[in-house]
């Protein structure tokens, strides 16, 4: 048959394919802020074109502060240009593979634990940079200038090395509504679990609901209780135990009983089994009939569009549990951080680090505080109004737990524990049933 024309068909369809593909494969132009200075007459000697991958979303206030800070930084350092890619929380998943596939990324931010665990192949050791002082650190070496607990945490995580510049410190503590506490006659924040239960009972008497939670933060109270009782390492072992035999330990039952008691006494909001994040935290500030919520210091920032101006924020740390190994000087806290890619040239690394310092000290750290209601990392900056109690909490803090406590650290079972726990706090199941539900999942 007609060989020529079948060749022609193949050829023309291939050409069409190629044409279509080439026509639409123009390399993606990303939408980030770009600006490069004119270089001439520069006072600073920093010079580099930087790509910054962020785990914030463009619509979050932190992203806006980063963009504005970059503009200011580029104005002061005309040799530097910074281009952002805001990936949101997916950043932790996207970044390692992006760097391994050879993409130029000079600096990035993420939750501190993720920087250490996920980006270890690209993290530059930053010890030397921390020894120096910067224009915004008042002639003090950076390591002595910014918040010491956050530097210590960075050293802990990095096994005595520093791999990131801490930003946006955060702690997981009880947020409470001061007006409700006042009205219910709770004049002192609870220091012990008994005082906590007593405070809740007063709140119920005054016609309010003591507690609520969204599912993702729900197990924090249980994790805190167990970490106080047996220590954090024990809780890590508990969630990693593949036989689930540790769940038969009396300590687990004791903690579960304590929570069951709360549920029995009606501490939790009625809809606690149905809320989907961030419904409960919105109701906390909109309805103003719930007194306490174990949440992060990021919460005032997340609800800032809906909270009324006269809402009175308070914080207190998780109370001391009787017979526990840790008291209420142990707090789950962490921070975000900016890491620098070790494949950078010296110039790029220098510029990247300078920008990381620039955005986390002085004026721009204050901007983070003001716009995102975040805690400052620069000790000269003031806590946001909603988080004034945090200063005292950090002063009292001696020990650190992982963010949201160790109970939620094994992704093989964290959701199983959460689901069973929601049944416990909504009164659907007893402490024994709660433990059985988790053990049965095996």
């Amino acid at each position: 048959m007609n060989k020529k024309s079948s060749n022609l068909l193949l050829f023309s369809s291939l050409m069409l394919m190629i044409f279509v593909l080439v026509a639409c494969s123009n390399d993606s132009s990303t939408d980030e802020e770009t600006a490069s200075g004119d270089g001439a007459g520069s006072e600073s000697d920093l010079s580099a074109d930087l790509q910054y991958w962020s785990s914030y979303n463009e619509s979050e206030p932190q992203a806006r502060v980063l963009l504005d800070a970059a503009d200011a930084f580029m104005e002061e350092n005309p040799g530097v240009s910074i281009e952002f890619t805001f990936n949101g929380r997916d950043n932790s998943e996207l970044l390692p593979t992006a760097i391994q596939s050879g993409r130029d990324i000079h600096m990035y931010d993420a939750n501190a634990v993720n920087i250490i665990n996920r980006f270890s192949n690209s993290n530059m050791n930053l010890n030397e940079f921390f020894e120096e002082s910067y224009p915004t650190t008042e002639d003090t070496p950076l390591k002595d200038y910014i918040s010491q607990p956050m530097i210590d945490l960075a050293r802990d995580l990095g096994e005595d090395e520093l791999f990131y510049v801490p930003m946006n410190p955060q702690a997981f503590v009880f947020m409470y509504n001061k007006s409700i506490f006042d009205e219910a006659g709770v004049n002192e924040v609870p220091q012990t679990w008994e005082e906590f239960v007593a405070a809740g009972e007063k709140i119920i008497e005054a016609g309010y609901t003591p507690l609520t939670t969204d599912p993702n933060y729900s197990t924090g109270i249980f994790g805190y209780y167990l970490s106080s009782l047996k220590g954090e390492d024990w809780v890590f072992d508990l969630v990693e135990d593949e036989t689930y035999e540790m769940w038969s330990d009396p300590a687990v039952l004791e903690a579960a009983k304590a929570i069951e008691e709360l549920a029995d006494k009606g501490f939790y909001a009625d809809n606690v089994s149905t809320v989907q994040f961030p419904q409960a935290q919105q109701e906390f500030v909109i309805d103003e009939n719930i007194a306490m919520y174990l949440n992060g210091t990021w919460m005032p920032g997340e609800v800032q569009d809906t909270v009324s101006e006269d809402f009175e924020w308070g914080q207190f740390q998780f109370p001391t549990v009787e017979g526990g190994v840790n008291d209420n000087t142990h707090t789950a806290y962490s921070s975000y951080g900016i890491g620098v890619n070790q494949d950078n040239t010296n110039e790029e690394a220098e510029a990247a680090f300078n920008f990381a310092v620039f955005v986390n000290t002085g004026e721009w750290d204050q901007q983070m505080v003001d716009q995102a209601k975040a805690l400052p990392i620069d000790t000269n900056n003031e806590n946001p109004e909603a988080l004034t109690d945090m200063a005292e909490i950090f002063e009292n803090t001696e020990g650190n737990y992982v963010s949201q406590t160790a109970i939620a650290t094994n992704s093989d079972n964290s959701q199983i524990i959460r689901s069973a726990f929601i049944n416990l706090i909504s009164g659907e199941s007893t402490a024994e049933e709660f433990i059985a539900e988790i053990q049965d999942s095996n």
Partner: protein
């Protein structure tokens, strides 16, 4: 008909080349990968170490995976039954001489043109919401307190809620398929029944259903193959009771915000298991609804 081998090859080549490069080769490589310990998705072959069946053993001792397997079977059975069932009813209604037939058809098909993610969030954030949700406020307005108190988004109900949303998102496509088959049935078949005085329910079961049996079989197969990849709704509803093998595997490969550790070898094993289950269901749905002998 005869055709030269070379010409046949010309016709097949583009499809086969793309199929080979982007489907066959990756699937084979993934199957091989499932017998190796592979830490990250970018690990080159020389970092793989052979572990035999270990990934499969780990997989089946993983509680989350087992839950996801049970979930997908529930989703397949319940969603399948209601999606195909409701679609049949809608199609039967729309094939009658009803007013506004075109309008109603287009309304029923509408969810098909909306992104699954949008449908998922619309149901999760709005319809099922316990504070301002459509269902709860509807029942409390008409005074059915017991129904308005249903906790759609509680751990026990979430899977059912997700299934309802999934059924809503899928009926349009199947309704249209059935409708198209039903309109092809010659009117004579019904005239005979009508003369014999049979009612329309009888007609539906005795005439319509047997005649579109082949189409039902095809839709059952189509539904099954699409269920194995059930992912978007599960990611939107993101709860242990709604996790599916596809989402579990995705988390194994890319990690999650809480737990960044990845195990790509196990992810591959999980993908292989899903494929086997998919092929099993595929054969099963072919078997349940045997090919009929009707011709028309």
């Amino acid at each position: 008909m005869v055709m030269k081998k070379k010409t046949i090859f010309m016709f097949l080549a583009p499809a086969l080349i793309l199929f080979g490069l982007f489907i066959l080769y990756p699937v084979v490589r993934t199957v091989i990968m499932s017998f190796f310990n592979v830490n990250t998705i970018t690990s080159p072959t020389n970092e793989w170490s052979f572990v035999g069946m270990q990934n499969y053993i780990d997989l089946f001792s993983n509680p989350t995976f087992r839950i996801s397997m049970v979930n997908i079977i529930k989703i397949w059975a319940i969603t399948g039954f209601f999606t195909l069932g409701i679609a049949l009813v809608f199609a039967a209604i729309l094939s009658t001489k009803i007013f506004g037939r075109k309008f109603f058809t287009s309304i029923i098909y509408l969810p098909e043109v909306i992104s699954v993610i949008a449908i998922g969030y619309a149901w999760l954030l709005y319809v099922f919401n316990s504070q301002f949700g459509l269902i709860n406020s509807f029942f409390s307005v008409i005074g059915l307190e017991s129904l308005s108190n249903i906790e759609w988004t509680s751990p026990d109900m979430l899977l059912i809620s997700m299934i309802i949303a999934a059924v809503f998102g899928a009926i349009g496509q199947y309704t249209l398929m059935y409708l198209s088959a039903m309109t092809r049935i010659p009117e004579d078949f019904y005239n005979v029944a009508r003369i014999e005085g049979q009612n329309s329910i009888y007609q539906f079961f005795k005439i319509t259903l047997p005649l579109i049996k082949d189409v039902i079989r095809t839709t059952a197969v189509l539904f099954t193959t699409s269920t194995i990849g059930f992912f978007a709704f599960a990611r939107v509803f993101s709860h242990i009771s709604t996790i599916t093998p596809m989402l579990f595997t995705y988390n194994q490969i890319f990690g999650t915000e809480i737990n960044p550790e990845t195990n790509v070898g196990m992810g591959a094993a999980s993908g292989v298991m899903m494929s086997l289950v998919g092929i099993f269901f595929f054969i099963l749905s072919n078997y349940i609804i045997k090919k009929s002998d009707y011709e028309y």
